[in-house]
Symmetry: C2
Subunit: 501 residues, 2 copies
């Protein structure tokens, strides 16, 4: 690499280190920090965010990018070098729109709001959380204005998570999903009375923790490169491609929570683990977008984790840790239990068919908030109404309603739709890998995900953030973003399930 | 506070946030991080150290300090404002002597060396650690040269930990200690055969962890403001005065390791917890020096934790967690067991009489290293010789010799003597508080350390780093640093113990 590019790389590596320092502080805040540390942590996060922002907007970086653009002219667009300069230029350009003071304030406010959200959710008290949410919204609206003029006020939010995607296109994708899923939910949703007791009962936390550690140990991430912790709202964070922080939560009455949260977060971690080492410490050393990230978590959680062959493996594991409950259970019964369709209140516990309807609810509320059609204080009521419309459920309290997710506390608006994009992309990838990977079914049956990991690494993981989402999906599948494969496969799966009754 | 001072404060708060981000990264590295994260962590720490250094040496900070010096002229020297400007000016002046690249390299090399040390100690393999140690030494020598001319090459190292103290004065204090202690060791040291089995046996780790959490819960730090983790080499780090990270280690065959490490580290944490809130996020928001810090840990570990009345409390606790072992034990026997004097190999497990001789060994080796009289590769042999001379023991392997401490791996030269300074200051403070605090003995008997904490907070903790060590000891005791009270009290204690046989 030339001196010019080496100089740019060094500057970008510093920025990356500052980002990872923020990730560590956020992980610690959510899994380790005593509550007394909340205020100081907010200040520390704000300082790190400000410093990162100052680096992005500095004249020195501008000059280094300018020189580097000359240097990579003529290189293939998909070379590491050209990609680095292109992606870094885009990020620097965006950062220069935002005042450093606002960047710090966004970090400070969301750190405080997250702490307030934890308490408010425990007490199901939206009012206690409202001032923090209003502050987050006010700051986020100021942020949006930094990018005027825009087609839609939601576009600048989306751009941070899905480079290149516009609100208009997203509305189309979500509408197709909704229209495809609503009839499936009507056809296959169980009534309230038919709950399978299999995964509900008494599962002591210590045994669940041991099971989770064992399951993680058998998934294809080296033991020395990850750890597992407990948190209120599971997430995965990468402090480097070889230092992955996976979290899950445990519910004594529901074994599914811990197991499928763990599978989900491990999908995220596998993605980061597979990014090409030479992209580390640069803006290319991360996932291509949140949608692509979520495609990996949903692929492991759903297409692997709720597949018929994987039940053979899981059942063996469950029998080992909870022999009384699973001794005489058949894999087929487990398969039905984890694929039960139910109109429910909580997004993270939702099945594959209703899940995207939870997203549609949040997406419509966010649009209304940023189009100026809805005030934060009106959210609980608006939430309840949309849940009634799309899912046919009554929201009994804020904890199982508007307070269930951390995202708005963390200042993350424009984030929820990426979950549905992830489902769509996972559907496209699963259609592809099912046809290409020999022996996949047998591997799932024995819980051996190495070959699948290798396939994903080769097609997707290693590229990091080199390509924009639209280009990446085209490179991998030969076509555009398409909800078709997801809907087709879901229809086939649930038809077969129903036929087997 | 004026606009000028407010501007300075903001700059210093940023630096403080960067320091705490490094503390978090170091704490995480030692207690949580998977090994795969080592290299990336070293880079992250180096970047944060470089950024901190750049802030200290920036022209903007210089200008802000300049203006602030005018502002505080005429204010009392012990006001918060004048102290802030004085201390920050001294630190900035020191930082300007050191190139930023060297500051980053020191952080990077020591992070890598710490990881190498963990592996080398496990395998008792000094040779595997040697290249890392040599690199640390080479960088530290370059650091010393930044401060030329100096009276003694050890002075610049000392100055980072004990502002104002010179090597010549330190040599005098350590010589007095050595000369006072050697005859006491000769008089009171037990032979190898008389080990009390009381604290040695089989203490399951889970029970020890529960005991440690319980003991910590009864010590005077609010539960919401600290946490306890396990590590190879116990330490305490403050991420804010209300976010204290205490660590200890557990040895299944030796209950004393966990309990007295915990008491020691809690002493450190109580100090940070007591710093006046208005000093937070500034260079005044930390302990006055490492010696003063260590005075607090040793005071809790030894003067509280090995006192006769505290045995009544500890025994009640031990009986609860290990009834079989402690059911029929008298407090007097526990008192004798924890005050047994023995010529031993490991510093952190050493008794009060031999402890400072372990320090003298390390101090003499460090002097020789920095005076150019000793090479790193000669350390194991030189270590063994000095241990023979001062303690009369034979070192069987590197793990129980030169590899036992993390300090040189962490690049901390000039640090060890502060342990002895801490013992000296703790002796002075204990003589004072014993005379002043009504009911102290009764409080120790019931494990109620609140009043002692309040006394220490009032005399010492709240001042943070406002005063240099020499001035602080004068303010508290009315006299200079003095090994006299330590030696007198130790002599009295061990005489009484011997008389009681």
């Amino acid at each position: 690499m030339s001196g010019v590019l080496e100089g740019l790389r060094r500057r970008l590596a510093r920025i990356s280190d500052l980002e990872r320092a923020q990730s560590l502080a956020a992980w610690d805040e959510r899994t380790q920090m005593p509550p007394g540390g909340a205020e100081a942590r907010a200040e520390q996060l704000a300082t790190l965010a400000e410093l990162e922002h100052e680096h992005w907007v500095s004249d020195e970086l501008q000059a280094a990018l300018e020189r580097a653009r000359g240097e990579v002219e003529g290189l293939p667009a998909d070379s590491d070098e050209a990609s680095l300069v292109r992606v870094a230029s885009r990020l620097a350009e965006r950062a220069r729109r935002v005042p450093t003071e606002l960047a710090g304030e966004l970090a400070r406010a969301s750190s405080l709001a997250e702490q307030a959200w934890v308490r408010a959710r425990e007490e199901s008290d939206f009012k206690a959380f409202l001032p923090f949410l209003e502050r987050n919204l006010e700051l986020r609206r100021r942020y949006v204005e930094c990018f005027a003029p825009y087609e839609h006020p939601y576009d600048p939010l989306l751009e941070d998570f899905e480079p290149g995607l516009r609100t208009a296109q997203l509305e189309g994708v979500l509408a197709s999903l909704r229209d495809g899923l609503v009839p499936l939910v009507q056809r296959y949703a169980d009534g309230q009375g038919r709950k399978d007791a299999l995964l509900h009962g008494r599962f002591p936390l210590e045994r669940q923790r041991a099971l989770a550690e064992r399951l993680l140990a058998e998934l294809p991430i080296p033991r020395d490169e990850r750890r597992l912790d407990t948190t209120a709202h599971p997430f995965a964070i990468s402090l480097s491609p070889r230092d992955l922080r996976i979290t899950t939560r445990y519910d004594q009455g529901d074994l599914a929570v811990a197991v499928w949260s763990l599978l989900h977060e491990t999908g995220h971690a596998m993605y980061e683990n597979g990014i090409a080492p030479q992209l580390a410490r640069s803006p290319l050393g991360q996932g291509a977008s949140l949608g692509f990230h979520e495609s990996q978590s949903r692929l492991i959680e759903n297409w692997v984790g709720r597949s018929r062959p994987f039940m053979d493996y899981l059942l063996r594991l469950f029998r080992e840790y909870f022999p009384t409950q699973f001794e005489h259970v058949q894999a087929e019964r487990l398969y039905r239990a984890v694929n039960r369709v139910e109109r429910s209140l909580i997004r993270v516990d939702a099945d594959e068919l209703t899940y995207n309807l939870h997203i549609v609810v949040r997406f419509e509320l966010e649009l209304a908030l940023f189009q100026g059609e809805l005030e934060a204080r009106e959210l609980p009521q608006a939430w309840a109404e949309l849940m009634r419309t799309y899912l046919g459920v009554e929201v009994p309290d804020d904890a199982s309603g508007v307070l269930q997710d951390v995202h708005w506390a963390a200042g993350l608006f424009g984030y929820f739709p990426t979950y549905s994009l992830g489902n769509v992309i996972a559907g496209q990838l699963w259609a592809l890998v099912s046809g290409e990977l020999d022996g996949l079914e047998e591997q799932l049956r024995s819980g051996e995900l190495g070959p699948l990991r290798d396939w994903l690494r080769d097609r997707l993981h290693r590229h990091g953030a080199k390509f924009e989402p639209a280009e990446l999906i085209e490179r991998i599948t030969g076509g555009p973003l398409d909800p078709g494969p997801l809907l087709t496969q879901l229809e086939r799966k649930y038809e077969a399930l129903a036929a087997g009754v």
